[in-house]
Symmetry: C2
Subunit: 440 residues, 2 copies
C-alpha cells in the first residue's frame, strides 16, 4: 500500500464539515456506501461520505464531469449496490479516489468540483442500505484472545483447538440475514439444553450476545479452482466495515456439535453502512508478527509484504445503550475497547486460506474477522467473555444496571476509527442494532 | 399433497419418448431446469423435461398460447434462472403443471399443444445450467445411519451427538461453488494433520469423498424474523434434485473444530439439473415415524400431516466410473443403493427448524439433506463409510480395481427415481462429476 497525495493530512476540503479534527469522514477517508433519501421510495444508489454529507454518485456520474477510468468507476458505483465497482479492482478504485479527492480539495474548481457541490445530500437525511448484494458471507475466527476467552469457559485445561495456530479457522455464515446498521431484530426462538436436563427446551434465547467484528468486502475475486495467492490477496479486498455477528449462545452451544453454528448465528448480522477502502487505511498498516515460540505461517500463508504490513491498527469500542440510557438521553456505557492490530491472522491470510482449496470468491462477498478481543479483560469483544459465560455481572455505571447477557430493548453500538499524530483520522462510523422481544 | 389428473398413470403423451415405461421423464413428472443449446452462446432459459426432449419455456411463453395464472407462471419460468417461478408459490405451480400436462397429453389439440410441439429441443442438444441463482445454500445432517457410520469411525463409544435426535442439525454451505452436473473440478489443496504428526502438511487432498444427498429449492420463503410454521413448510418447497457434496475428509477433519466444515466442503457441490416438483412426488409420499423409544419431535417440529406423509420414497444409487471403466465403455460399478425414506427428519422439519429463530429463506435458496445412508452397510452414501474411514478397500468388480477414497479421473454418478406398481415412474436423471488432478 503506497501513500500518495490522498493521504496528505494537510489537505482540507471546501466542505467545512470535512475538516473537523475529530470527524470520521475527512477528505482522506472517502468511504463508499449506498443510500436514498430517508422516507422516500427512491432506488438506493452509491454514495461517498464526506464530513456530514453524502456525495450522490449517481448524480455525480450523470454530470459527465468525470471521464476515463475514474468516470467508468463512478458509473459502476452509481447502482443500488456496489458489486460492479468492487469487481473493477485496485486500478479503477485508485482512479476514482484520486478524482474525488482532487475535486473535493480546498480550492478545487471546474466541472468535477461543481458536480460534487451539486450532488451533496446531508447524512442526516440519508437512509443507508447494504453496500453490496452479498453472494456469500463467511465468518473467520482469528482473534487468539477471543478463542482463549471462550475456550477457557468451555474447556479450561485445553482452551485452544490444535488447528488455531496453523490456519485461520472459518465457517460459512448466512448472507440473507445480513442487515445494515439500525435494523432492529427479534430475540430468536430455538432449542437449548439446560445443564443436567433430560430434554431440550424450546423458547426465547436466554443468552443473547453481540460480537465485535470487522467485515471486509471482496473485490474482483477468483474463478472456481483458481486460488488467490497470498501475494495477490490484498488486491481482492475492496474495503472494511464494522460487523456485529449477534449470537444466541444457548441455542448455539446445543446445536453446534458436530457441524458448527447455525441458528445460533443466522437470525441477524449487522454491518456498518460505510465501507472504508484499503487505500484510506494505508497509513495505518502495521507489521504482522508472531511470537517466536509459536508456529510460523506455512508458505502459502506467508509473504514478506504480509509480515511487513499485514495488520491494520483500527481502534474499536462497544457500547451498550439500555432503555434507561435512552430515556436519560445517554449514549450508553462503554463495555470494552481494543484494537484490530492484535489479530492472529491477517486479511490477506484469510483470503488465501478461503480460496486455497479452489473455493471462488465473488465481488461483493462479505468476510468477517470473527470476534475481536484484545489481550486484557477489558478488551473482550463479546459479553459472554466479559461475564465469563454468564457467571459474573457486567456493570452499566451510567444507569446502575448490570447485565450478564443482552436484554430486550438493549441497543449495542460498535464504533471504529484509525488515529495517530500526524495522520488524518479515518473513521468507520457506527454499527448499531436493537434487541426486540421474541415473537413466538 | 392431493392427487389429481396429472398423476394418472394411464395418461400418455403425444411425444412417444415420454411413454417409455423405464424413462425418467414421463408426462406425470415435468421437472423444471434451465438450458441452452450446447455449444451456443445463447442465454439460458427455463425448460421442462419430457421424454428425451426439453420444452423451451421461453418459446412456449412467447407463443401467447398460455393465459391466466399458468401463462404468468410460464413467463416467470422463461428467464435464465427459475427464482421468479419459485417465488410464485403452489397455486401458480399447480396452474402451470395442469396446463403443460393437458397440452402434452395424447390427443391434445389447440394453440397450447401446437406451441409445445414447436418448442421442443432434444435433451441431447441441451446444455443445462444451475436451476436458480442460489442466494444461500444450507446443508443438513438428517440421516441417522450416516451419522452413526461416521460417528463410529471417530468416536466408537458415543457415535451420535446428543442433539441429533432433537433437532435437524445443519450448517451453512457455500453457494458460489454449487455447479450443475457434468462440471469437473480439481482435487483441492489444503492442510491436513497426519496421525501423530507435530505439524500439518499442505498438499493435495488424500481422502477425497462424495456424499449422496438430495437437495431442495425454496419457494416463496419468509421475511426475516417471521418463521415458517411446520404446517406451512411444504408450501415453501418448490422441488427436489440430487446433490453431491464433495468432501475433502483430511482437510475437513483438521479444520472443523470448533466451527464446522469449511474448505473441506466448499470447493465444489454438484446438483442434478432437473428439479422434480413436490407435486410430481405426491404419489410417493410415505409416513414419517419414529421408534417409540426415541424422542418424539417437539411441538414446533411436529404436525399430523408431517407424520402421515412427511417422507418421500426416492430410490437412490451411487456409481463410480473410473478411467478404466470409461475406456471399456462401462457405465461404472454401483457402490451403494438406498432410499430417501430412511431419513430421521423430513423436509418440512428442516424448513421449520431453519426459520424458527428468524432466519429468512429466499426463493431459489438451496437446502441439502445431508448424506443419505440406509440401515445396512451396502446403503452407505459416502466412501468414507464404505471403506470404514479408509481402512478397508471397496471393490470395483467390472475393472478389478479397488478404492478407499476417490482417485483422479474418477467420475461419481448419482441417480434417483420413484417407482411402484400402478404409479408412473418419476425420475431425477443423474448428477455426475469428475475429479481432475490437483493444481498446486
Amino acid at each position: 500500500m503506497t501513500l500518495d497525495r490522498t493521504h496528505d493530512v494537510h489537505t482540507r476540503s471546501w466542505l467545512a464539515s470535512a475538516n473537523a479534527s475529530d470527524g470520521d469522514f475527512p477528505i482522506q477517508n472517502l468511504p463508499f456506501g449506498v443510500f436514498r433519501r430517508a422516507g422516500s421510495q427512491e432506488a438506493f444508489r452509491g454514495g461517498v461520505a464526506i464530513g456530514d454529507q453524502v456525495i450522490d454518485l449517481q448524480a455525480a456520474a450523470g454530470s459527465g464531469a468525470f471521464t476515463g477510468l475514474a468516470g467508468q468507476a463512478l458509473q459502476a458505483a452509481s447502482h443500488s449496490a456496489l458489486n460492479a465497482l468492487m469487481a473493477m479492482g485496485p486500478e479503477a478504485w485508485h482512479a476514482l479516489r484520486l478524482a474525488l479527492f482532487d475535486a473535493l480539495a480546498d480550492g478545487a474548481t471546474g466541472p468535477a468540483a461543481d458536480a460534487l457541490r451539486g450532488a451533496l445530500v446531508p447524512q442526516a437525511q440519508a437512509e443507508m442500505g447494504l453496500p453490496s448484494r452479498i453472494g456469500d458471507y463467511t465468518d473467520f475466527y482469528t482473534s487468539v484472545h477471543h478463542a482463549l476467552n471462550v475456550g477457557r469457559v468451555l474447556k479450561p485445561d485445553d482452551p485452544l483447538t490444535p488447528n488455531f495456530r496453523w490456519l485461520p479457522i472459518a465457517y460459512h455464515g448466512r448472507a440473507s440475514s445480513v442487515v445494515p446498521s439500525g435494523t432492529a431484530f427479534h430475540r430468536p426462538m430455538g432449542q437449548a439444553m439446560g445443564p443436567g436436563a433430560a430434554a431440550p427446551q424450546y423458547g426465547p434465547c436466554r443468552r443473547l450476545d453481540y460480537e465485535l467484528e470487522m467485515g471486509f468486502y471482496v473485490g474482483p475475486g477468483n474463478a472456481q479452482g483458481r486460488p488467490i495467492a497470498i501475494g495477490e490477496a490484498e488486491s481482492h479486498i475492496f474495503g472494511m466495515c464494522l460487523l456485529n455477528d449477534w449470537s444466541a449462545r444457548d441455542h448455539q452451544f446445543w446445536e453446534m456439535a458436530p457441524l458448527g453454528p447455525f441458528l445460533g448465528k443466522n437470525f441477524c448480522t449487522s454491518v456498518s453502512p460505510w465501507v472504508v477502502t484499503m487505500a484510506a487505511l494505508a497509513p495505518y498498516r502495521v507489521p504482522f508478527t508472531r511470537p517466536a515460540d509459536e508456529p510460523q505461517s506455512l508458505a502459502y500463508l506467508d509473504s514478506a509484504a504480509n509480515r511487513e504490513a499485514g495488520g491494520v491498527d483500527v481502534q474499536l469500542e462497544v457500547r451498550l445503550q439500555s432503555p434507561r440510557h435512552r430515556a436519560a438521553g445517554h449514549a450508553g456505557d462503554r463495555l470494552s475497547a481494543t484494537s484490530f492490530r492484535h489479530q492472529y491472522w491477517t486479511l490477506a491470510q484469510m483470503v488465501a486460506q478461503h480460496t486455497v482449496g479452489g473455493c471462488n470468491l465473488q465481488p461483493g462477498d462479505l468476510l468477517g474477522t470473527g470476534t475481536i478481543s484484545g489481550p486484557t479483560p477489558g478488551e473482550a469483544g463479546a459479553i459472554v467473555e466479559l461475564s465469563r459465560g454468564g457467571t459474573q455481572t457486567v456493570d452499566l455505571p451510567a444507569t446502575g444496571e448490570t447485565r450478564t447477557f443482552l436484554e430486550d430493548g438493549d441497543t449495542v453500538i460498535l464504533r471504529g476509527w484509525c488515529a495517530r499524530d500526524g495522520r488524518a483520522r479515518i473513521g468507520f462510523g457506527e454499527c448499531r442494532g436493537e434487541v426486540l422481544p421474541a415473537v413466538g
